[in-house]
Symmetry: C2
Subunit: 250 residues, 2 copies
Amino acid sequence: MNGALNKASQSIAPLIRLRRLAAIGESEAAKLHEATRRARSVGARRDILLEGEPIVNPTIIVSGWACRSRLLADGRRQILGFLLPGDIVGMCRQPDPIAVSAVSAITPVTICDAPAIEPGRSDRGLAAAYAISAALEEAYLLNHVTRLGRQTAYERLAHLMLEFWERLGQAGIPVGNRFQMPLTQEYLGDTLGLTSVHINRTLQQLRREHMLEASNGFVTLLEPDALAAVADYKPARVCRATEAVSIMRG
Amino acid sequence: MNGALNKASQSIAPLIRLRRLAAIGESEAAKLHEATRRARSVGARRDILLEGEPIVNPTIIVSGWACRSRLLADGRRQILGFLLPGDIVGMCRQPDPIAVSAVSAITPVTICDAPAIEPGRSDRGLAAAYAISAALEEAYLLNHVTRLGRQTAYERLAHLMLEFWERLGQAGIPVGNRFQMPLTQEYLGDTLGLTSVHINRTLQQLRREHMLEASNGFVTLLEPDALAAVADYKPARVCRATEAVSIMRG
DNA sequence: CGACGGTTTGACAATCATCAAATACAGTGG
DNA sequence: CCACTGTATTTGATGATTGTCAAACCGTCG
């Protein structure tokens, strides 16, 4: 699980993802590659950023899964979104930004500083990739709101699995209909506004109906089209040009 | 309701709001003022932007209430957020952006193009105000996720009312604990992931417990502190400098 | 082996949805 | 001024979805 080859192939997720978002030149790719060299690791379940803390640098997730979350006073937790390899967190334009949510590692995670864009220079592609990444983040947040507000437990789970599939695919990670999803049922519950008990029962229903398999940290989508239909899933689109082809696969 | 004085005082909401977000110079204020002169109106319940449509210009809400929403295939609707006077919609950095949600007027609304910022020039304040506005929009979206995922109907309503109060106050609109809220119970239901029937009963409970009044499109917060306590409401903070004073009032 | 975190199961309760009807309210035209 | 219309609010009866609590099971790791 930690061989050199595996590690090398994992650390290119940011490059794959950002390249799919916009045309990135050689010098920009070199910057990215250089940044990922300086990656640091964060242990599983450790905080990367606390709510209310100043944000020092935009950060790229190089490998592993992280999430944004909020805690209510009585301990209830809501997961606001996930940060997958190639995702960017803390890209703010206002001066002296502070974090509006906590960010914590789910699995062991490696992160690195996002290369700054020099205005006017030939960082056009990178700037566009950052912008598209930010727009996608918003789109996924809107997905999340819709799931929570207007979908049943069954639909929510299906929708979330499809979103993971799409996003991991864009980072060059999954093969076919199977992908790694290192979330406990408690994480899923805190994500989808349900209890872990209900997640368990809903997963059983999805299995019973041969829609998907989920065990040992892996998910297999047995009927992606049927899932997309019941969950009303539509791939995210935030601009005219790129990534129209994002879902054609399998 | 439509006297000249009223109209004049309404159209300054963008200026008030953006000025509270960042230090805006005279020339920038003049630009804003000029932009609001070119405002156009949209009838109640009309669409301002459709999901999937290209976004041509960032737009400022000058007066009235609008919302972002998504429709599921079977007609279920989820309201993703509200656009109040002074709010900005469609501020994207990626090329050829397309809308990830519909935007529609709730009341009659007037909108205008957001003045572009000239790089390098003395539009620093305006740029900062736009950036903070965008960050606040994200913070409110996270509020929304938390409400939907982890709060009861009672808490959701209380939380939303407090958010309206805070946001309207920042646009210079409410007086004391009373403000106008032109939402039907069906809008509230589609916002909070509930049915209008349940909204009705929850409002009755809030009234019965003397927490708030709500009728004829107006809301009075009778016990704002108690409401904030039960809803675990915290005013949004997205940067170090400004608007720390945002909630002190009443 | 024992401890631990995660999953699974069962019995039961609470929140919230559904359906249908009654009531209130604002605007419109006679 | 009043019936007429349409929309929004309110109420009641009933049911489905989801939560709570508690215990059993299962795999992994020291």
